[in-house]
Subunit: 325 residues, 2 copies
DNA sequence: CGTCCTTATGAATGCGCATACATAGATGCG
DNA sequence: CGCATCTATGTATGCGCATTCATAAGGACG
């Protein structure tokens, strides 16, 4: 920067100003400085800038997995808005593991991000403490809590599970089963679904639980296991993700079972392909774009106005009825 | 850090050493320092550390899109290894846009990453210049080039297209079509496929091109358009991604067309679901895990040994034959 | 013409750490 | 016992910028 200044015949300060607030520098000087920058190929050192100004323009983002499109698309919408506001994303995957999340929180905070995005509302005590101490805006997504670290945007998983059960009963199903991945939020939906369905119909809900993430293949397995366990004809299966649901559809097809007559399916997430399967998949839609956008805007708001403003954002969900249930 | 030192009765340097090379500090002192750290909740400032040491332990990663699972899973494998080596990932999406990539390169470099990962081998002149000037290891993935910026790991898209054509001809198909997304690498595969197929059979290859990313829905559209254009019975369709291929499968099913008898399909990417569709999808497999891992290790190598070592890594591809072709 | 404000710039400082160099005590060995 | 060597620690310095305060040169105004 000093080098650029020398070339332009000004001091380092003036170069700094030319970059951060060009209107405070006379047009001719600005011109010379810009030329000197082009000439030298100068790239400002944001590390030094961050140290001096105590603002990094970095946002730390912690998601369970980027390969899961539901998190990826939320992240995409989030980073899009952040990028427009001049912020960059530091990303780590936590793999649904609180210990790993805690390590990631520590390393992220050591880089002094201006804000953090976390997935879910359940974090280790250590993570919470560090985040509170950091004194920066924190947004937790994909869930809701009355006691967020700072603010949260998501929806009620219990309400989603109940709504699915109510929908199923209203649609005339009297027998139900669930296929659930090893994800704490999915389990809460399952629980709410099963409880509500049993309360409404008096019929016990069959279940298959996996301890890992949902895949199409496991969905096929899931249906097979339910059938082995004596799933009655005409039952509806509430899947914790559309991957499972699509697997069920395919397995049903391979076995000559008609959907929804022989077996009905409700997915979760309403992913792009849900509208395109045969038959179309009935699913709970979460608007992941909106989720990411609301989260981003919540942070931007907090940058502007301190830690005031709405702390809990409910983006809700919607049941999209197609042919599978 | 000085504060921690005061509490432990030592100077700032000793605290610094206790964190970076604990074996150079006496056990008792180390003990006291650790206690002081726990007591104060001290979190080291990596920004200052980076400025002082000129090493950031940050890796910049530029991918077209995180919502596309092929890039996401490569990124996952890459960041996993980088994380193990103590590096963190700064992520930006470029959306297949060189201009946007150039901006991202500039902002990334301003944060002085220790290395960069880029997708593809085609970059703007400005991007190339900045990256070369930065003097850090750069790895380009998903493609191969004789003149990488620094090093690259990928495979030959032309060879992949040709291999698909050779496979189709050998399998007895005499008519072919392609469905291609608006992605430069996909177009190169399409071109190689069409050329080779035409050379081998003398039959012209029908084509449908989209200017956007592949989705299942567009795959359905694609088959529809090909049929409208008079796709002959028994033709094979080479899709630029498994999303398209699955769409074709579903559309064929909805129309009562038998796969592979009435229409055969070859996908690209061999995504998780390819083995699970009905019928199973024949696809070109790229090992995205290996891609990410090799890229990560190439950078680690370069950290250790300077800019020597292998510059071009061909991870190849493989045709996975299932039932769809 | 002196005072006050405005605009454009520069000098000085410090952000929090890593690094090079210095120092002091302990240990080894002939 | 004296010198070399090693271990544990400290002092000084600077990374490259943003920020604060100071300064100089013009107007505006009564």
């Amino acid at each position: 920067m000093a080098e650029v200044g020398r070339l332009a015949g000004v001091s380092q300060v003036t170069v700094s100003r030319a970059l951060s607030s060009p209107d405070k520098v006379s047009p001719e000087t600005l011109q010379r400085i810009r030329q000197a920058i082009a000439q030298t190929g100068f790239v400002p050192n944001a590390v030094a800038g961050a140290l001096a100004s105590n603002r990094s323009n970095l946002i730390g983002a912690l998601v369970p997995s980027v390969t899961n499109v539901v998190y990826a698309s939320m992240l995409h919408a989030f980073s899009e808005i952040m990028w427009q506001h001049g912020y960059q994303i530091m990303l780590s995957e936590t793999g649904f593991d609180p210990e790993r999340e805690e390590k990631a929180v520590a390393t992220h905070l050591s880089r002094r991000p201006d804000a953090m995005l976390l997935t879910g509302i359940h974090h280790s005590a250590g993570s919470r403490r560090m985040l509170v101490n950091a004194g920066i805006p924190v947004v937790e997504v994909w869930d809701m809590s009355d006691t967020p670290i700072d603010c949260c945007v998501g929806f009620s998983h219990a309400a989603a599970g109940e709504a699915a059960a109510a929908f199923a009963v209203k649609a005339g199903y009297v027998r139900a089963a669930t296929i659930t991945a090893g994800d704490e939020r999915a389990m809460r939906r399952q629980l709410a679904f099963a409880r509500h369905f049993e309360r409404l119909t008096g019929q016990r809900v069959q279940r298959v639980d996996f301890s890992v993430s949902a895949t199409l293949g496991l969905g096929r397995d899931g249906l097979q296991r339910l059938l082995t366990d004596g799933l009655p004809k005409g039952a509806v299966i509430f899947c914790s993700s559309d991957q499972f649901a699509q697997g069920v559809l395919i397995e049903a097809g391979a076995r000559g079972l008609k959907v929804p007559q022989d077996v009905a399916v409700i997915g979760f997430g309403d992913q792009e392909f849900a509208a395109m399967t045969e038959p179309g998949l009935t699913s709970l839609r979460i608007d992941r774009q909106v989720l990411g956008q609301v989260a981003a805007n919540a942070l931007i708001d907090r940058f502007r106005s301190g830690a005031v403003g709405q702390a809990v954002h409910d983006i809700g969900f919607e049941i999209v009825r197609r042919q599978s249930a």
